[in-house]
């Protein structure tokens, strides 16, 4: 019974903090006010101040975790909405995304290996280019830690959005399809949100790239990591 109350409280307060963060982000649109970052910081502060161990918070948190699978299945909907663009631009989008997925997994894995990091860290870093719920599940499959995987996913997401203008300029990526595929393959949902701010088409292309990349990365990561390590 006590577990039920703790679980219920942690779910309700997580949702409350999330709604509050969303409101704050609507008002002040900065990187650090992104709902996921702000909510995480607030909840960590609450846990630290009230001396609640993570394991206790997770009595409720694990029920939210359980819904991550649902979140991934739901991504079929934006892909379905973009089906016309997918049909029209299948070749350029899918080729670019395939190459980006392979480059992302292999360079991340190789650099971390060369620098002498432990396997558990490398395995958590490998799937960083895809959306968090998929990266967590891939990290888990190859022997990494889902929690760390999410942290690397966030760095790839915000880092990509931050570096994107310079990269586009230096490498002369100026076609809307090139831009959308680049940011969707590298920075998943966070990149897609920024692509949507540029244009509707760039956002649509980024959505397709992000979903296709999620499928490709989950298929190639176990094999690639095996070969490279």
């Amino acid at each position: 019974m006590i577990n039920f109350i703790i679980g219920f409280l942690s779910i309700v307060s997580t949702y409350g903090v999330y709604l509050l963060s969303k409101k704050v982000h609507q008002k002040w649109d900065f990187t650090f006010t992104f709902p996921v970052i702000l909510s995480t910081v607030i909840i960590i502060l609450i846990l630290l101040v009230m001396r609640i161990p993570y394991e206790i918070y997770m009595i409720g948190g694990k029920w939210i975790n359980e819904l991550l699978g649902v979140a991934v299945v739901a991504l079929a909907y934006p892909l379905y909405q973009q089906r016309e663009n997918l049909k029209k631009l299948a070749l350029p989008i899918i080729s670019g995304t395939l190459i980006g997925a392979a480059v992302g997994v292999s360079t991340g894995t190789l650099f971390a290996k060369v620098m002498g990091f432990e396997d558990i860290l490398i395995h958590s870093l490998s799937p960083k280019s895809v959306t968090a719920p998929v990266a967590m599940s891939v990290a888990d499959t190859v022997g990494g830690l889902p929690t760390l995987a999410v942290v690397f996913v966030m760095i790839a997401g915000f880092g990509g959005v931050f570096l994107k203008p310079i990269i586009y300029k230096v490498c002369r990526i100026n076609h809307v399809v090139g831009k959308g595929v680049g940011i969707g393959s590298a920075s998943h949902a966070i990149g897609t949100a920024s692509a949507l701010e540029s244009s509707l088409l760039e956002g649509s292309v980024s959505t397709i790239a992000m979903v296709v990349s999620a499928v490709v990365v989950s298929l190639i990561t176990p094999g690639l990591v095996n070969v490279l390590l």
Binding site: T14, M58, L68, V70, Y80, G96, G100, V103, I173
Partner: protein, 123 residues
Amino acid sequence: MLKLSKILLHIIFLYCIYLLGNWIVEIFNLIIPGSVLGMIILFVLLLTNVIKVTWIEEGTKFVVDNLAFFFIPATVGIINYFDLFVGKGMFLILIVLFSTTLVIITSGLTSQWIMCRKERKHD
């Protein structure tokens, strides 16, 4: 209230597809996560009109719009790994940024190159 129960019903439906994906992955011993297979199954069912998009629209839209909420408990887990990013661990951040840059360049240039060739052919 009606909208809330609709959303809940749709989420239960998505959960069933997720379980179906997991089940297929287990039976055939596949490497793909059950959730990703579930997404592919739902996409195919929508394309072939077996499932009408209106049957799942509200709940699915709610989940996609609030994607960040679902991984907050996982990111809070960083609380147990704070010491990882001091010292040598800082390089992990640089590795991710460098690798991300390479992904944007290679994938972006590949699609752009194919697009430009396609557009030239049409002229």
